[in-house]
C-alpha cells in the first residue's frame, strides 16, 4: 500500500486515535494572547481524579499508546503526578506541555525518574522581549529556568515547542541552536485563530512572504524538527512535500478531551459545532470516538469545494479546518493562509459576516498584571 492509499485509509478513521490531546485543566498561571483553549481559570466541572483514571482505563483498553497532556497549565492540578503515574502504569505514554512554572529542581528530578514521559516546554521567542509580548511578562525566564532544571536533572531530550508568529519567524535558526544547547528537540507549530488566538491571529500570523520562509526552512531542516504535521498547507509551495501525513486529522486520527470531559474533533476547534460528545456520556470515550455523528461525518470523503480547481489541492488539502472556521471562511473554502493567494479574497468575503466565536472562554476576568504563583 502506498502512502497515498494509507492516507485515504486514515481519512476513514481509526479504531482509536493516534494523537489524542487531553487538557487536564482550564487553570493557568499565564494568559498567552494566542491560547488555543482561552485558559485562565479552573472550571468547577473539571473531571475528578477518579473520572480521569476511568478515562485512562478506557484508553488502555482501546490500546492508545500515548497521550498529549495539556491545559491550561496541567501541573496546576494537585493530582498531576498521580494521573501521570497512573497513565504510564497502564501502558499509556505521556507527553505533556507546560510553561515550566512548576518545574523546580525536585520536580525535574522526579520527572526524570519516570519512563515513557516526554515534556514539551512552550516558548515563543528566543529572547524575553519577543516571547513575553505573547506569553506574558517573566514567562521567558520561567521557561529557561525549567529547561535548566531538566538539563541539570539529566532528563535527556525534552522538547521546546514554538508557535510560529510574524515576530519570531526570523528566529528559527536561533530556536534550533537553543534546543541544541539544552539537548532538546525543537517543535514548531502553526498559529491558529483558536481560543484567544481568534483575537490575536490577524496581528500575529505570518505574512505571505514569511509562509515561504517557513516552508524553505522546513525543507532544509524539517527532518530534525517536529511540526505536529501542522504546516501541510505550505505544501502547495513546492514539489517536495514536508515530512508527515499531511492531512487534517480532526476526528479521524486526532481528537481533544477538554478538562470537563467534552470530546472535540481537535484541540483547535473548541466550539459546539465540533463537539462530538463527552466522556461522561453513556458508553464513555469509546462510544464518542466510534459512534458520534460528528466524527462519522468527518470521516466521510470531504469535498474540495472552492479549492477543486486549484492544482495544489492534492498537496495542500485545502488547509486547516479550524483556521477556516474561526476566520469565517466556509469549510470547503481555501485556508486563510492559502499560499496561492486565495486566502485574502476569502477573508475579505468573510469580513462581512460574523465569524464564529471560540467557546469555553476561561480567561481571567481582569487582564491586570499577573503574579506567577510558585509552589
Amino acid at each position: 500500500m502506498s502512502k497515498t492509499q494509507l492516507v485515504e485509509q486514515l481519512k476513514g478513521g481509526l479504531d482509536a486515535p493516534i494523537c489524542l490531546t487531553w487538557e487536564l485543566t482550564y487553570a493557568c498561571n499565564l494568559e498567552c494572547v494566542h491560547c488555543l483553549s482561552s485558559s485562565g481559570q479552573r472550571d468547577p466541572r473539571e473531571l475528578t481524579t477518579d473520572e480521569a483514571k476511568a478515562v485512562l482505563d478506557e484508553l488502555h483498553d482501546l490500546q492508545v499508546f500515548y497521550i498529549n497532556i495539556g491545559g491550561g497549565e496541567p501541573m496546576i492540578r494537585r493530582d498531576f503526578f498521580e494521573l501521570l503515574e497512573y497513565s504510564i502504569g497502564r501502558g499509556i505514554g505521556v507527553k505533556f506541555s507546560t510553561n515550566g512554572a512548576f518545574i523546580d529542581a525536585a520536580k525535574a528530578k522526579r520527572l526524570t525518574e519516570m519512563d515513557y514521559l516526554d515534556i514539551q516546554i512552550s516558548l515563543d521567542g528566543t529572547d524575553a522581549v519577543t516571547n513575553d509580548a505573547v506569553r506574558g511578562e517573566g514567562s521567558y525566564d520561567t521557561a529557561i529556568t525549567a529547561m535548566q532544571h531538566l538539563q541539570d536533572a539529566g532528563f535527556g531530550e525534552f522538547k521546546i515547542s514554538v508557535v510560529i508568529t510574524r515576530h519570531n519567524v526570523d528566529q528559527l535558526d536561533e530556536f534550533k541552536a537553543l534546543a541544541d544547547e539544552y539537548g532538546a528537540q525543537l517543535r514548531i507549530t502553526r498559529l491558529r485563530p483558536s481560543g484567544r488566538g481568534a483575537d490575536s491571529w490577524h496581528d500575529l500570523h505570518p505574512t505571505q512572504a514569511q509562509q515561504r520562509q517557513i516552508y524553505d526552512w522546513l525543507v532544509l531542516n524539517g527532518r530534525n524538527v517536529l511540526t505536529g504535521d501542522s504546516f501541510f498547507h505550505l505544501n502547495a509551495l513546492g514539489e517536495e512535500p514536508l515530512p508527515g501525513l499531511n492531512m487534517c486529522g480532526a476526528g479521524r486520527v486526532v481528537c481533544l478531551i477538554d478538562p470537563i470531559g467534552d470530546v472535540y474533533a481537535c484541540p483547535f476547534v473548541i466550539h459546539d459545532e465540533f463537539k462530538a460528545g463527552s466522556v461522561r456520556d453513556e458508553g464513555g470515550f469509546s462510544n464518542v470516538w466510534k459512534q458520534s455523528d460528528l466524527f462519522t461525518e468527518l470521516r466521510e470523503p470531504q469535498s474540495a469545494g472552492a479549492c477543486a480547481s486549484c492544482g495544489s489541492y492534492d498537496a495542500c488539502q485545502g488547509g486547516c479546518m479550524a483556521a477556516k472556521f474561526f476566520t469565517g471562511i466556509p469549510l470547503d473554502g481555501p485556508d486563510p493562509e492559502c499560499v496561492s493567494g486565495h486566502g485574502e479574497t476569502a477573508l475579505l468575503a468573510a469580513s462581512s459576516i460574523q465569524a464564529p466565536k471560540p467557546m469555553m472562554d476561561h480567561s481571567k476576568p481582569s487582564r491586570v498584571a499577573v503574579t506567577i504563583g510558585r509552589r
Binding site: 500500500m1 481509526l14 479504531d15 493516534i18 499508546f65 500515548y66 501502558g91 505514554g93
Partner: protein
C-alpha cells in the same frame, strides 16, 4: 534477511486497524503503520527461532510476494521494531 531469525521487540505493541495494524515502540517512541494484514500475520508469527523464510512459508505467502515482505520487515528492523 531471509535467513535472519527475528522477533518482535518486547517494548513494541501492535494495535489492529482496518488497514493492518499500528506498531508502537515504547522505547524509541516510533509509530509505524503495518499496511497489510499479511504483514501483521507474519510479524506475529516471528518467534525468534524460525528464519524469516520459514515463517513466510509457514504463513503460506506466495514466493512471488516475498521481496515486498522482505522490504517491510527490513524497515521494521531498521526502526528496531524487530530484533
Amino acid at each position: 534477511m531471509l535467513d535472519a531469525t527475528l522477533t518482535l521487540h518486547p517494548q513494541v505493541a501492535l494495535r489492529p486497524e482496518p488497514f493492518g495494524a499500528l506498531a508502537y515502540h515504547y522505547g524509541n517512541r516510533k509509530l509505524i503503520f503495518l499496511k497489510h494484514p499479511d504483514v501483521v500475520r507474519i510479524v506475529e508469527s516471528l518467534d525468534g527461532t524460525a528464519t524469516v523464510a520459514e515463517t513466510l512459508a509457514a504463513c503460506d505467502i506466495d514466493e512471488a510476494r516475498w521481496p515486498s515482505f522482505e522490504q517491510a520487515l527490513t524497515n521494521l528492523q531498521t526502526s528496531e521494531m524487530l530484533q
